[in-house]
Chain length 346, copies 2
């Protein structure tokens, strides 16, 4: 089989980013003339083509929508996909999925591969690295080519498109208020680093609830799980942080985690220490996957309704593809969260 | 946007199966002449084309492999995808994923959409409905078009291609032997209906272990969860079956479930009845997702190594695509399972 050079190979060969190659090949003036010419010459020599035959298919509806998610081993994202699938099936669309693995260059490459494969539109949650780099040219280029995008969960304000978001702030506020109502006064918050927008919004909700109830916000009670940690390192990180925290603050009586994994790990810390849930410490998980439901005791959780998010995103996209809504009319739909009360709160 | 009629629409309109439409359009003589002509005329009238422009792309490597899985909200399948992604990334291939939702016609449509979108090859686990119908023409047609397939987990003997399977029989036998060694004499087996090949193989392993240890096989101890049940109906089904079973057999002292969901549900039944795990009943889960690890007590589990299955499948496929192995040389690689001992066994 004859192989064409890929964007990634050009980037590697010339020691530049995939984004630079992509921009240079589109003759974008953000890239210096010399670099642009070097990349264009290299691409020509190695037979890189943005596939004009495939491009010609673009104007025809393929009845296929593409989803790009940051991670695949993630219950929330798979529930969103399930929701998208159910609406897409009903309305006679095929669905294909790609994973960015939270990498900027994989997100760019996935998007280009799929657009070339004649996709009608995208439903997408932004990769962490893209949020960090704040480089959104692949989104704007795709939209300007007439391929609509619906962003969900991890969105960016800078992009003008349909969006489906969770009321992260309100969800975390409701969870914190539930703990305060049931008597908690010292509530730990286990979250991501600040650049992850949803972690940040949930932290804001936590602060709001404390302030509204005249409880002081103690920054040392906020555990930020380092983004570089591998999944098997997260447990010992959270255990160590909680170990230190419970020594300084033996009166900790509540905990909220921004995802089910952080939360169940924290719950296991308390079980190991024989600190009783919910008698001594009440716990709420943000996101209601299989873990909160089946853990013992079962955990009260903020349900983000992943399936509903997916259904809504699919409806927005297909309505646009079928001309039911206008191309330049953009909606942001906020999906309300629910607090599913179980046995980890009083 | 101009829309072309899809296979599914033709099938619906003429009240025949997608498979019949697909065969008729390929002028397959399995379909009666009259039906064939009717379908061909209809397809022509409504402008159905197997997309000759896209077909012309077929001979060019797209550096993209497609995965089709039966379910997306499933930890095992997402681990397999993760394994495929890691090898594909290393070897510079893109990965796209589609979900059959265990439906035969969705599997067929996904396959055709992806082949038309210029995919180099498939990694696939067969839909339940396809196994039931025993209709594999979409696999044989794809292979005969020069697009290789690697089957994993749920495979079919009738298809000649590379396969990656789990030693389901041996895995279940090892699990049953572990329970027998630790003193269990009356072991319940919670499984699928017989047409699901992996459930069947695991049951065989369970029987082997009992027979090898001169324990009689009591068919009433085998609970077959009905395939038609929705996920929220499975719990009450398993609870009811166990309720009846423990009344007839108060001396039940072991249980194995063929997936983590059945197993944790059974474990919850015993917790509800205040039957102590593992003192009164020992439990082993087949498949090691997040549930066995984080449940309380944590469950001993048969790890199927989903990531390793994915890595192996990707290697087999890419080796074939790059001519490292010959087109007509087919391997079946068996991935060994491991018993991860935790707190639900003695």
């Amino acid at each position: 089989m004859r192989k064409n050079v890929t964007l990634k190979q050009i980037a590697k060969e010339l020691n530049v980013s995939v984004s630079t190659v992509s921009k240079a090949l589109r003759d974008n003036e953000e890239i210096g003339l010399e670099t642009r010419e070097k990349i264009q010459a290299f691409a020509k020599m190695y037979n890189y083509k943005p596939n004009s035959i495939a491009l010609s298919l673009r104007n025809k509806s393929s009845q296929t929508i593409a989803i790009i998610i940051p991670q695949i081993v993630n219950h929330f994202f798979t529930k969103v996909i399930q929701g998208i699938e159910s609406v897409a099936n009903e309305r006679n669309y095929n669905v294909i999925i790609a994973v960015s693995n939270d990498s900027f260059s994989k997100e760019v490459i996935n998007m280009q591969t799929l657009v070339n494969g004649s996709i009608d539109g995208f439903i997408l949650s932004v990769a962490k690295e893209t949020l960090k780099l704040k480089d959104y040219h692949h989104f704007t280029e795709t939209i300007s080519q007439g391929v609509p995008i619906v962003l969900f969960d991890r969105q960016v304000d800078e992009i003008n498109c349909d969006k489906v978001i969770i009321d992260d702030e309100k969800g975390a506020q409701k969870a914190t208020e539930k703990l305060i109502e049931t008597g908690c006064k010292k509530i730990v918050f286990v979250t991501t680093e600040d650049f992850v927008s949803v972690g940040n919004l949930r932290k804001k909700g936590y602060r709001n609830a404390l302030e509204k109830n005249n409880l002081s916000v103690d920054e040392t009670l906020i555990i930020k799980v380092k983004d570089v940690l591998k999944s098997d390192e997260i447990e010992s990180f959270i255990f160590n942080e909680l170990e230190k925290l419970t020594q300084y603050h033996p009166d900790i009586d509540g905990l909220i985690g921004v995802n089910e994994f952080y939360t169940i790990t924290a719950a296991n810390f308390f079980k190991k220490k024989e600190i009783k849930i919910p008698d001594e410490v009440s716990i709420i998980a943000f996101s209601d996957g299989v873990l909160p439901k089946y853990s013992y005791p079962s955990l009260t959780a903020v349900s983000q309704h992943g399936d509903k998010i997916g259904e809504t995103a699919a409806r927005l996209l297909i309505d646009k593809l079928e001309g039911i809504t206008q191309e330049d009319y953009h909606q942001t739909i906020v999906i309300e969260t629910d607090l599913i009360e179980r046995d980890s709160t009083k």
